[in-house]
């Protein structure tokens, strides 16, 4: 409504300017035309009068008679003292009287005068000039033209422009009102939807046709609510999954502890049960730790401080930590690392990524299997590859492998102490450190995880690859 009012105001001012300008321009044009005509007529009259020795009623009348009809409304000739010697008006004849018009007085002081006014629908022009006889002012000539015709043209033009302006203004008002009506309806629909979305009703969609800004806004709103809906679902799913995962070890702990309390059992059995309680507590602790890590990853997005990290050193540290596990699982660890593979990353993130991938490679491997890590620098890209000879991932599960709590084989994962969060943590960390991760796998053959980061660091001399 405010915009429509602003447009109306601007349009009204523009039309007002148009009316004033056109009226003024037309009048000025006609005034100039009248001025030229008046000057010519004055010249026609003053020239012969200037040749007369003495201006008198008779001599002036003779001269005017010779000149004929000058097509003016009134012509007055005076002597030097302002006394009228000739007056073309029959009804108001001023001959013998002293004419003290401003125009004649100015002319008798030696000045040419011209004024033009538009009054009461008529164009009135007044002109006067001195009659000079041998450089002496002998009298004056005054003429007045009352032009109702030209005045009518001006009036008609002004009326037409005004009428057109009013019609245009009315049309603009109607269009503006229509647009405001339509626009406000659409805006109300959008506002209603926003209020519903604010109350949590993300499934409500705005149905709006067209390609204008409102339709675009409605479309973007619908996409936003779709995302919110999806995010809400994901959140619910996460809470549900997390609750389920936490509930399972808690239920086991409860069951085992109840069994101990309710049953008489020998010491060795009791020790077994207590050990199981300990294992489930450890599992619970790992799940909670991973949930915390995931949460921190989300919270810290955009607030992390990145530094230059040498991935080769990181791989070495990971290997030192996982060697005991690898030995227990009878899995061989090996690596082929290029020098100078530095990236811009958080130190902890880089460690977590490599640790999770190598740990998974060990856990989901077969006896006498292997995990091989490759680190390559190619132009401006660092590629970290973790290959294992493990059980592999079915093709239909590959697209979900990075989702939270997703496990290909739940039984095996539980046995391996997993909760389905490790790869989702890897995925989040890779992405927030400007990298990408892909996976290829073949069941019963093994998996290959490839992580790519942009190279960041100082230039160094090329060196041979180091075998670990």
């Amino acid at each position: 409504m405010r915009n429509a009012f602003a447009y109306m105001t601007i349009t009204a001012f523009a039309l007002l300017f148009l009316n004033i300008y056109s009226a003024t321009a037309t009048r000025n044009l006609m005034f100039r035309s009248k001025y030229a005509s008046a000057q010519d007529k004055l010249q026609v009259v003053t020239s012969p009068l200037s040749g007369v020795d003495t201006l008198s009623v008779e001599t002036v009348r003779q001269v005017i008679t010779v000149l004929g009809d000058l097509n003016v409304t009134r012509l007055i000739v005076t002597d030097a003292s302002g006394t009228a010697l000739y007056d073309s008006s029959q009804s108001m004849n001023a001959v013998g009287k002293t004419v003290l018009f401003s125009e004649t007085v100015q002319a008798l002081s030696g000045q040419d005068v011209f004024t033009c006014r538009y009054e009461n629908g008529a164009l009135k022009s007044f002109a006067a000039a001195p009659v000079m006889t041998r450089s002496v002012i002998a009298g004056s000539v005054y003429l007045m033209e009352y032009d109702a015709g030209q005045g009518g043209i001006i009036a008609s033009l002004e009326r037409t422009i005004l009428r057109g302006s009013l019609i245009l203004l009315a049309a603009i008002f109607l269009f503006a009102a229509a647009f405001v009506l339509v626009g406000s309806q659409k805006m109300r629909a959008i506002l209603t939807s926003i209020r519903l979305a604010r109350e949590g009703e993300y499934s409500h969609k705005i149905q709006m046709r067209g390609t204008d800004e409102y339709a675009t806004l409605a479309d973007e709103f619908n996409k936003l609510t779709d995302k919110l809906l999806e995010s809400e679902k994901t959140e619910r799913q996460f809470v549900s999954d997390a609750s389920h995962e936490l509930k399972t070890p808690l239920a086991s702990i409860k069951l085992l502890s109840d069994s101990i309390l309710q049953n008489d059992m020998d010491t060795s059995t009791m020790r077994e049960f207590v050990a199981d309680i300990g294992n489930e507590s450890d599992r619970l602790t790992r799940i909670a730790q991973k949930l915390l890590t995931l949460s921190r990853t989300e919270d810290e997005n955009g607030e992390t401080e990145h530094e230059v990290v040498d991935l080769g050193e990181t791989v070495s540290r990971v290997f030192r930590m996982l060697v005991p596990l690898a030995d227990r699982q009878q899995v061989a660890l090996s690596a082929n690392l290029d020098h100078g593979c530095t990236i811009l990353s958080r130190e902890d993130d880089a460690y977590q990524i490599i640790f999770n991938l190598v740990e998974n490679g060990i856990k989901y491997n077969r006896e006498n299997g292997s995990v091989h890590v490759t680190l390559r620098r190619e132009q401006e890209e660092i590629t970290l590859t973790v290959e294992d000879t493990g059980v592999g991932i079915p093709a239909d599960a590959l697209s979900n492998i990075f989702k939270r709590f997703f496990r290909v084989d739940k039984a095996r994962s539980r046995q391996a102490g997993g909760a389905g969060l490790g790869l989702s943590i890897v995925h989040e960390m890779v992405e927030r450190n400007f990298g990408t991760i892909t996976v290829t796998s073949e069941e019963n053959k093994g998996s290959c995880f490839m992580v790519m980061f942009p190279y960041f660091g100082v230039e160094e001399d090329a060196a041979d690859a180091e075998n670990v």
Binding site: T73, S81, S89, Q90, L100, F101, S102, T115, N120
Partner: protein, 300 residues
């Protein structure tokens, strides 16, 4: 936000009021209690007024002091108002004032004779306009000393034309045609005051009906005839006359004179080439065919 808008609106209104209050200037001088107009000339030309080159200022002059001599001396003191000036560069010296039968004879020094004609007439005009406000004054005469030969006037207000009335009520000269005794039309020019040109033909027709013919001419149209309706379309003037017009239908000659007089007069106006005469009640003339439009002929 609404509070801010209200504040801005209030500030704008206050600024406007302050600006307008600055435009209204308080009167610097209070109006006289007993005002009397004294006429002078405008220092700068002012066009479009009804006082022409003259302008009056109000002075304080109680009723009991309003004598011709007192007024003349007030005039000779000169104007106090900005924008007014004494009619002549040199002010004449007053020698005497004499009032006889409403005519005020003012004797001045010889300076009056030495003034340019326009200045002297301006002095006369100013004094006439000023003194004729007094009830006992009808005219003003200027004299030089006691010399009887150098006198100007007597002047009345009507002797001075201050503005062009024709600018408000313009005059148009038309030609009225009257038949002479030989049946030929004779044109007589007459001025008609008319502000609306569309009314000129009607006024001309009425003037023709009302005019007294000159010697040697005849009245052709019956004097009681009235113009009931008139219009012009594409050069054709349609005129409806009252039944009194039929009084011209006594003879063929009189009917012809009446019709030709009217047609020739109207066709002499711009924009009219032919005339269709109708008489109220669809009456026709028996001695002249007016059923068709008639065009003026030079042979008339």
């Amino acid at each position: 936000m609404r509070k801010m808008c209200n504040f801005r609106a209030a500030a704008a209104l206050a600024a406007l009021l302050m600006l307008l209050s600055g435009c209204v200037q308080p009167d610097e001088a209070t109006a006289p209690e007993h005002p009397f107009s004294v006429w002078y000339c405008s220092a700068e030309p002012i066009y479009g007024t009804q006082t022409g080159a003259l302008c009056a200022e109000q002075i304080e002059l109680p009723e009991q002091e309003r004598t011709p001599e007192r007024v003349i001396r007030a005039f000779l003191d000169g104007p106090k108002t900005d924008g007014l000036t004494f009619p002549s560069g040199q002010r004449p010296v007053l020698r005497g004032v004499e009032t006889t039968d409403g005519n005020v004879r003012i004797a001045f020094s010889s300076d009056l004779m030495e003034m340019p004609g326009l200045a002297r007439m301006s002095v006369a005009a100013c004094l006439t306009m000023t003194l004729t406000q007094l009830p006992e004054v009808t005219s003003v005469e200027l004299a030089v000393g006691s010399s009887p030969s150098v006198r100007y006037g007597p002047f009345t207000a009507r002797d001075f034309v201050l503005y062009d009335v024709a600018a408000q009520n313009p005059e148009y000269t038309v030609t009225l045609y009257f038949p002479n005794y030989e049946g030929k039309l004779v044109g007589v020019r007459q001025a008609i005051l008319c502000t609306d040109l569309t009314q000129l033909p009607v006024l001309t027709a009425r003037a023709l009906i009302a005019a007294l013919p000159l010697e040697g001419s005849l009245r052709a149209i019956p004097a009681k005839t009235q113009v009931l309706d008139f219009s012009v379309t594409d050069g054709l003037a349609s005129i409806v006359l009252s039944a009194d017009f039929t009084a011209c239908d006594n003879t063929a000659r009189s009917a012809q004179n009446a019709v030709r007089s009217l047609v020739a007069t109207l066709c002499a106006l711009d924009g009219i080439t032919s005339v269709k005469i109708a008489i109220v009640g669809d009456t026709d003339l028996s001695n002249y065919d007016i059923s068709e439009p008639i065009t003026a002929s030079p042979d008339w």
